[in-house]
């Protein structure tokens, strides 16, 4: 809990840095109509895909900040030497990270969905998928960052490690939204996302903790 509070406090004092992924998210989505033409039917049809790919990239971009500064200033060593189980501390840090990077996406997503002409019913589903999906992105991403935080050129490898693992989230989240947009029932996909979320929450902190130990040694 204290670590969660600390990270939120740090994020508050570094507001500008944490606003970047959000800005990036909006920018990427703006590029699509410019590239594909602004025909409303086309945009409405591909909106779920666009929003989710952009969310994936924005999540990727923000991942590095989970452990980077802690690694650089030695706080990470202190975290690993703490008397508390590292996996729990990792979970707290990932929570904090999601609150400052994932949650804002949730707030701007309705606006973007409206701009892309997504029907109202689909918007609610979109928000639900973002709510369930982005924490998974943070959890899986944390493993990748933990593996690469000690490297000088970790960025490119990070995307190679993490993006393939994002595939299931992308598939189910985008298709849930699409289902809702075309009037079908998206609940099957939503349940799958929920299952992924539970799985990621229970397994990822352990892998992340192990990877962090590897990275500081």
């Amino acid at each position: 809990m204290f670590l969660l509070r600390r990270d939120l406090l740090l994020a508050l004092r570094n507001r500008a840095e944490y606003a970047m992924p959000l800005l990036f998210f909006v920018l990427v989505i703006t590029m699509f109509p410019l590239a594909l033409g602004a025909s409303p039917e086309l945009l409405a049809r591909i909106a779920p895909g666009i929003i989710w790919v952009a969310a994936l990239l924005a999540a990727m971009l923000s991942l590095d900040s989970i452990f980077r500064s802690d690694f650089d200033d030695g706080s990470l060593e202190q975290i690993l030497l703490s008397a508390h189980p590292v996996a729990v501390l990792v979970l707290a840090k990932v929570c904090a990270h999601w609150l400052v990077t994932g949650l804002p996406l949730l707030l701007v997503a309705p606006l973007l969905a409206e701009m892309l002409g997504m029907p109202g019913a689909a918007q609610a589903t979109l928000l639900l998928t973002i709510l369930l999906g982005t924490p998974i992105l943070s959890l899986i991403g944390a493993i990748g960052v933990a593996l690469t935080v000690g490297l000088r050129k970790g960025g490119i490898i990070l995307s190679l490690l993490v993006l393939p693992l994002y595939v299931p989230v992308l598939i189910f989240a985008a298709s849930a939204t699409e289902n809702a947009a075309t009037g079908f029932d998206p609940s099957a996909q939503i349940y799958m996302l929920l299952a992924f979320l539970f799985l990621a929450t229970s397994l990822s902190p352990w892998a992340t903790a192990a990877a962090l130990r590897m990275s500081v040694s």
């Binding site: 493993i143 490297l151 490690l161 595939v167 598939i171 990877a211 590897m214």
Partner: protein, 241 residues
């Protein structure tokens, strides 16, 4: 049994044993490969639907099997590394990755070659090809991560964690992609129904699978021996060679 395992785990011992096995494996691979190719390309009858072009499955299917199998081997090594920190497992894991990536690549290439006469294009977003492509990315991630970390033992531990994470995800990715495919394209070309495959096709297929399996062990031994020499270049037993 445990003693034997322990002994095999010591680098000099493994180096010698592997060296002794190499010529035998070479022969076994040659024989199996020739038998499999002869059975597959000459003896097996042409398929009533696909004609001669189906014959590429004698390479494609075993390669795809191997691509999955090797990843599982890597994950098992990963678990051994994390629990027992066994050096030989590190060497096997690292040496397996490029072989697995090659098999995956081979499966992709042959799959798309097969796709040309079947579907009229080299690439279709078919469920199996897509998950094979993602598997290739996973392999490349393992290789990339290993190359990026200088210290070999640290690198091996990093890769071990990654392989374990990957192996948990592979079935999930596989089924997501399968599901995604059925959703977007509906049932496309149904591939061969496995149970009804005729033994004259099945036998060469199994022979080829066995040949690839032997080839994997062969390549693995070569790579492991080289990797062992590189790692232990300062130790006594290497100097004695």
């Amino acid at each position: 049994m445990f003693l034997w395992f322990h002994k095999l785990g010591s680098p000099p011992h493994f180096y010698r044993i592997a060296g002794k096995w190499l010529p035998w494996l070479n022969w076994a691979f040659m024989i199996l490969l020739l038998a499999g190719l002869y059975g597959g390309l000459i003896l097996a009858p042409p398929d009533y639907q696909q004609g001669e072009s189906y014959r590429i499955i004698f390479i494609h299917v075993p390669a795809a099997w191997m691509s999955l199998f090797i990843y599982v081997v890597m994950a098992v090594c990963g678990a051994v590394i994390i629990v027992w920190r066994m050096k030989l497992a590190e060497v096997v894991l690292i040496s397996s990755a490029p072989i697995g990536a090659s098999f995956t690549f081979l499966a992709l290439i042959t799959g798309s070659l097969w796709g040309k006469p079947m579907w009229g294009t080299y690439w279709v977003w078919d469920a199996r090809l897509t998950s094979e492509l993602i598997l290739l990315f996973l392999y490349l991630g393992v290789i990339g991560l290993h190359n990026a970390i200088e210290d070999r033992r640290t690198a091996a531990r990093a890769v071990a964690i990654l392989a374990l994470v990957g192996v948990v995800n592979i079935p999930i990715i596989h089924y997501s992609v399968e599901w995604w495919h059925s959703l977007h394209q509906g049932p496309t070309v149904t591939k061969f129904d496995k149970p009804s495959i005729h033994w004259s096709m099945l036998l060469p297929l199994l022979l080829m699978a066995l040949a690839f399996q032997v080839y994997y062990v062969l390549a693995l031994f070569h790579r492991c021996r080289a990797e062992l020499l590189r790692r232990e270049r300062n130790s006594k037993w290497v100097e004695e060679l």
